[in-house]
Assembly symmetry: C2
């Protein structure tokens, strides 16, 4: 165990294709740059949430080149050295390896990998959980936040925990990671009490994750992390496997641990998430911006400007930007990218 308090770093994942909240989100302005639930963008909320625990100079941003200007405009005062540019999108394992590479001269530092587009509250509880995870990370564990499920969600991966093997005050050993289940399996997971949602947030020592890459994904390790690995070029990066950190490392690691979240969490993965966070009308409609309706129920209406009028409809998502209106059956919102493939390039 480290003899002094290690440095705490945050690595915020700021990429994204801007598909899930289309047409409000776009490739040029993905979800983390939207103001959905407050007058601040989600990336601002993410930074503010951790800023009492982690200094600005220790907050790093992994993002594609085309979002750098927007990020620096959104979060004033970011140093250029804190931007870790992904030459292209190749999923989370290469992106996280890039961040570990940037920190590799501090193997004892704790690195918290946090998506910049999750809804998390309250701050105090989140920070307490983050400290608990950091203590386990300091002991060498690769720690994930696991979210206690409140519904048989089929859109998330699950983590099976060993309740008989507590780690520290708040954690557990991971038995295994489970891919997105079907509805029946999800229901069983929720009922058992031994499954948590995989939040996509990770806390570990820089040295631990580099070591894990060397064991479980030599390809990425050799290209980005090995002592002799050279300058990063787009060409090098474009040859890396497109793979998530879960597949590349977590599922194979014997030192994976989970801290069940005490905070409330939502990855706001589609328009229907709004129903969980906005106050609904008597007819179960929720809206952002101006809505008038009659004989309409269960709708989600988002007007970036102007107004939306509904008559005689139900269970629709209607989103209006200045240029575009989306009308989508609520049950299809998770598949919006299938529609986007029909858009002009």
């Amino acid at each position: 165990m480290a003899s002094r308090v290690p440095e705490l770093h945050a690595v915020l994942l700021v990429g994204g294709r801007g598909e899930r909240f289309w047409p409000l989100s776009t490739p040029e302005k993905p979800k983390q740059f939207l103001r959905i639930f407050s007058d601040k963008t989600m990336v601002e909320e993410t930074v503010e949430r951790i800023s009492s625990l982690i200094q600005g100079k220790n907050i790093h941003y992994v993002l594609p080149p085309h979002l750098a200007d927007l990020l620096r405009k959104t979060l004033k005062g970011i140093k250029k050295g804190n931007l870790i540019i992904e030459p292209e999108a190749r999923n989370t394992a290469p992106a996280i390896a890039l961040a570990a590479r940037a920190l590799r001269d501090k193997p004892e530092a704790i690195m918290a990998v946090l998506p910049a587009d999750h809804l998390i509250k309250p701050e105090k509880t989140f920070l307490a959980d983050l400290k608990a995870a950091a203590i386990l990370a300091q002991e060498g564990y690769l720690v994930t936040f696991g979210i206690p499920p409140d519904r048989p969600e089929t859109g998330y991966g699950y983590i099976e925990v060993n309740r008989n093997k507590p780690l520290g005050k708040r954690g557990f050993k991971v038995i295994r990671f489970r891919e997105k289940p079907d509805r029946k399996t999800a229901a069983r997971y929720v009922k058992s009490g031994n499954f948590l949602w995989n939040s996509g947030m990770f806390i570990w020592r820089v040295g631990s994750i580099i070591d894990a890459f060397s064991r479980h994904h030599p390809g990425i390790y050799e290209a980005l992390l090995a002592p002799g690995s050279g300058t990063l070029t787009r060409k090098t990066y474009s040859k890396l496997e497109k793979i998530s950190i879960d597949y590349a490392v977590m599922e194979k690691a014997s030192n994976a641990a989970v801290v069940p979240a005490s905070f409330s969490w939502d990855d706001v993965g589609s328009w229907t998430a709004l129903e969980r966070h906005l106050k609904s009308s008597l007819d179960n409609n929720v809206n952002i911006g101006k809505l008038i309706y009659r004989d309409s129920k269960g709708c989600i209406a988002v007007a970036e400007d102007g107004q939306i009028a509904l008559f005689g409809v139900r269970d629709l998502v209607v989103v209006k930007t200045k240029d575009t209106v989306l009308v989508c059956a609520k049950e299809r919102t998770a598949e919006i990218k299938k529609l986007l493939s029909r858009l002009d390039p």
Copy 2:
């Protein structure tokens, strides 16, 4: 019978609340000022259709004060003397009486009352029918165009004709006018072959309609048409009964005649009319402006600007203006005004 060819005048009804095609139409820009089926407004189409038969100086426009500027901008070169201003909307009988008053020094003139927002083609056939109607009008009949029904429409009034009493080459005596029927009655009407839709177009001598008002609606006659009737004031007009020409005159007249239309006609009374006139996609969607869709059927999409995207929906009307989007069940489009009552005044 008149010994010389009478003057032919057109009276175009240019009022309207702009409700049926909301949000594309508004009180400030009702349907006749929209470009729906061509790059010309419907009022322009109406004028062009008759212009080979009726000179511009004989075309009169009955309209509310707030539409006068828009009309003169739309139809360049209208003389002020051809505008007949309705002080307020009080249905068609007072409006038509105003027009008859404007022409009362020409009792032998034929006056064709034509809505400015109907879809009519081809022009040649329409003009031939108009001439046939004018001949009957010259004989003293109050003539209506009756539309041979192609469906059991419940949104129109019907005219029962006496096939045994032909008038001239093309007309028939009217047995009676029938109000909007229920579905079952409408089906019976259509099957019988003796019923025509009431098109709301009328052709008569100026003297005949003044005489008919004197017999059947003395209130309007005394206020606007009697030899001693004074200056028109808003106060006088606002006291007149709000009543349609059908109720006030046609249903009571013994000299009502009908000319079955040879032309094709649509009053374009709601958004669903678009399905009858626009080419539909394989999935039975029709659109004006840009539409992308997936797994969506039977929808009517109108984008005044920008684009509409549909996913997993059916039988909807979606209309996008710059400020407003309407999403309405297709079966409810005839009731849009119920929704508009919820708009801010």
